[in-house]
C-alpha cells in the first residue's frame, strides 16, 4: 500500500493575498514533513477559477518547489487538463520532463479533462471534445518523451516533426495516470495502460467492482506509453488523533466543508447538455456515496449532506488501520489524502496528524524490506563525477572568427 498526500489548495473566504500565501506555504511545509515521514507521493491538481475549492492552476510550479525542498517523495502532477484551450500537449511534455529532471526522476503524470463548466467555459473549450482531446494527449505525450523525431496529424492536434526536449530523467518515461471521477473512466484507464487515480469517493462495494474490472482489462491492454502502470489509487481525507472523538470533531467539519465547496461548483452536465458528460463529476459521486445503504440516491431532501462516505480516513490509529485494510481488500494499492480544507485545521494539528499516522499506521502496511528501501532515493542519480563534468566543451577559439 502506497500513501500519498493530495492538494487542491483550497482557500478560505474572505480571499486575501495572505490567505493564499498561507495555504501554499502550509502545504509546502506539510510536504517536507511527509517526505521525512515516509509518505510516497505528493499530488497537486490543476484547476482554474474554482474559488475556495481549489486555487491551484499551476501545479507544476508548486511541485517544483516541493521537489526542491524534499529528497525522496514522488511528485504527482495530477492531473494535467488535456484540453488544448488550457494546455498544448507539447508544453505539457516539456514542462513534465523538466520537472522530472529537477526532481531527480520523481515525477508521476496524471491526465484529466475537467468536469466543470466553470473551467471549460472560462477557456471557451467545447465540452463535446474533451474526451477526444484527452485521448489524443495521452497518446502523444509519451511519444514526445521517447521519440527524437516526433510529428503528429490527429483529430484534435497536429504538429510537424520536431525533437521535443528535454527528455524526462526516468527511463523510458514517468508513470502515467488518469483521474477517475465518473464510473467508466477506470475502463478508459485500463484500456490505455494508465494508472487509476481516483479522485472521488466511492463506497467499498462499488470500488471493489470497478477495481476488479480495471485489473481484468489492464492485463490485456494496449498501452499508450512504453509500459503499463497498473495501479489503483483512491482519494481520501486524513485526520488522525489518538482520541477518536477529537479526530471526528476536527476532521468531520473539514470533510463537510470540502464537500460543500465541491458541490457549489458549476458542473458541465448541469450547464451544457452533452453526451460527453453523463454525471455531475465528483459532486454526484459524493452525494451517491451518502445514499441509502442499498446505494440508491437519497431522497431529494436538501438537508441530506451531513453524512459521510464510508471508509473515510478520520479517527484514531486503530480505526485507520482497519479502514485501510478494507481499502486494501477491495484492490486499492494506494491512498492519497487531503489533509485540510480551507485551512480549517490548524497547521500544527495537521502536522501532528501526519506524524501520528506515519508512526502508528503506515508501518502496519510495510514489510521490513519496504521500510528499509524507503530511505533510498527512488531513482538512481548518475555519477557525473566532479561538478562541471557534464558542462559542454569549450568552443574552439577559431569557431568565433
Amino acid at each position: 500500500m502506497k500513501f500519498g498526500i493530495f492538494y487542491e489548495l483550497s482557500v478560505p473566504r474572505p480571499f486575501s493575498r495572505v490567505n493564499e500565501w498561507l495555504t501554499y506555504h502550509n502545504a509546502l511545509e506539510q510536504c517536507r514533513v511527509a517526505d521525512g515521514l515516509g509518505f510516497d507521493h505528493v499530488w497537486a491538481v490543476e484547476h482554474h477559477f474554482l474559488e475556495e475549492y481549489s486555487h491551484c492552476p499551476a501545479p507544476e510550479v508548486f511541485l517544483t518547489a516541493v521537489a526542491a525542498q524534499t529528497q525522496r517523495i514522488r511528485v504527482g502532477h495530477g492531473a494535467v487538463v488535456c484540453v488544448p484551450e488550457m494546455n498544448n500537449p507539447i508544453r505539457v511534455a516539456e514542462r513534465a520532463a523538466a520537472l522530472d529532471i529537477v526532481s531527480n526522476g520523481r515525477l508521476e503524470l496524471g491526465t484529466a479533462r475537467s468536469s466543470t463548466w466553470t473551467e471549460l467555459g472560462g477557456f471557451c473549450a467545447d465540452p463535446d471534445d474533451t474526451k477526444k482531446t484527452w485521448d489524443e494527449f495521452c497518446r502523444v505525450i509519451p511519444r514526445m518523451w521517447t521519440d527524437d523525431d516526433f510529428g503528429w496529424e490527429g483529430a484534435r492536434f497536429e504538429m510537424p516533426a520536431r525533437n521535443v526536449i528535454p527528455k524526462p530523467f526516468q527511463e523510458p518515461h514517468p508513470p502515467m495516470w488518469v483521474t477517475v471521477t465518473t464510473p467508466g473512466t477506470e475502463l478508459d484507464a485500463a484500456e490505455r495502460g494508465l494508472g487509476c487515480l481516483g479522485v472521488s469517493a466511492a463506497p467499498f462495494a462499488e470500488q471493489e467492482r470497478r477495481t476488479k474490472e480495471y485489473y481484468r482489462r489492464v492485463a490485456n491492454c494496449d498501452p499508450v506509453g512504453s509500459f503499463v502502470n497498473d495501479q489503483v489509487h483512491t482519494l481520501n481525507f486524513l485526520y488522525c488523533h489518538e482520541d477518536y472523538r477529537q479526530a471526528a470533531a476536527l476532521g468531520l467539519p473539514m470533510v463537510g466543508a470540502f464537500s460543500m465547496s465541491n458541490a457549489h461548483l458549476y458542473f458541465t452536465r448541469e450547464a451544457y447538455p452533452t453526451r460527453a458528460y453523463q454525471t455531475l463529476g465528483n459532486a454526484g459521486a459524493a452525494l451517491r456515496s451518502r445514499g441509502a445503504p442499498n446505494g440508491s440516491t437519497p431522497a431529494d431532501d436538501p438537508s441530506v449532506a451531513k453524512g459521510l462516505p464510508e471508509g473515510v480516513g478520520i479517527g484514531d490509529p486503530d480505526h485507520l488501520v482497519r479502514t485501510i485494510r478494507k481499502w486494501e481488500d477491495v484492490g486499492v494499492n494506494g491512498i492519497n489524502f487531503l489533509l485540510n480544507a480551507m485551512e480549517m485545521i490548524p497547521q500544527e494539528q495537521v502536522l501532528d496528524s501526519l506524524r501520528l499516522f506515519a508512526t502508528e499506521v503506515i508501518p502496519q502496511f510495510r514489510t521490513p524490506a519496504e521500510r528499509a528501501a524507503r530511505v533510498q532515493a527512488p531513482t538512481t542519480i548518475p555519477d557525473v563525477g566532479a561538478p562541471g563534468a557534464l558542462a559542454p566543451p569549450t568552443m574552439p577559439a577559431e569557431a568565433n572568427r
Binding site: G121, A263, E270, Q278, D301, S303, A305
Partner: protein, 257 residues
Amino acid sequence: MISGTASVDELAIGAPEIVAFGTESVRLGGVTGLSLVAELRRPAREAVLPPGLHPIVPPAMSLSAWDVSESPWGAFSAAFVRVVCRSGARARTFCVGAAASSDDAVAGLRSQFGFPARRADVALRRHYDGVNVTVAPAGESDNGAAAGRGTGPMLELHALDPDPLSVGDLQHVGSMNLAHTPLGLRLVQVETHHEPSRVERLAARIEAFDAAAWGQPLLDPYWVVSCSVSLEDVEIPAIRFVCNPALPAAEGTERVQ
C-alpha cells in the same frame, strides 16, 4: 461558502400563497420545452438569492419556456426566470419570475407550487431549424409595443441549428419558489419529472431581456452557455420539502408529506 444576501422581506413582496399543500401531482402532456442557461455578471451573484441558498461560480441563470398541449389547466404556455444555485449541497434554481398565458395556469402554478407567475403573452414556436420564444406583458405581444402602449418584450430569444442529443443528456434541476405557506414564508421545492422523447441542443441568442419586468433588475444574462429544446411529458409532483429562506438547508428544511 457564500450565501445569498437578498432581503427575505423584500423578496416576499408579492410572493404567491399556498393555502394548503396538495397531495396530487400535476401532469403536463405534449410539452415543448426550451431551456437556456446564461452566465450573469458578478454583482448579481449573492444579491439575488435569499440567505438560505448559495450561488454558484460563475453566477448563472436559466430561462425556460413550455408550450403545453394538455394539463388540468388546459393548454397554455409559460416561461420561467431562475437563478442557478445550491440548496445545501444540491443543485437547484431560485425562481425569480414566471409568466403564463392563461389565468388558470397562473392560478395553478401560484397556488399549488408557489411559482411567482403572472399573466403574460408567452409564445414558443418551434420551426424545422430552430425555436423562438417571446414573452410580452399581457395584451402587448402583437401590436401593443408598436403602438406605444408597452415598453417592449420581457423576453425574446432565438435558437437555431438543432443538434440531436440522447434523451438522457439533458439535466433538469429543481426550482425553489418563495411562497407564503401554511408553515410560513418558505422556499417551496418543486421537482419536475421529465419524460422526453426528443432532445436537441441549439445555438441561441437573447434578443431582449427586461430584467426589471421579471422582478429582478440585477439579472444580466450576458453570456449564453447552452440552449436545448425537448419534446416531453412533464410531471410536477406534490410538494414534499420546504426550506426556511433565511436558514441553510441543513437547518431550515421541513418535510411536508
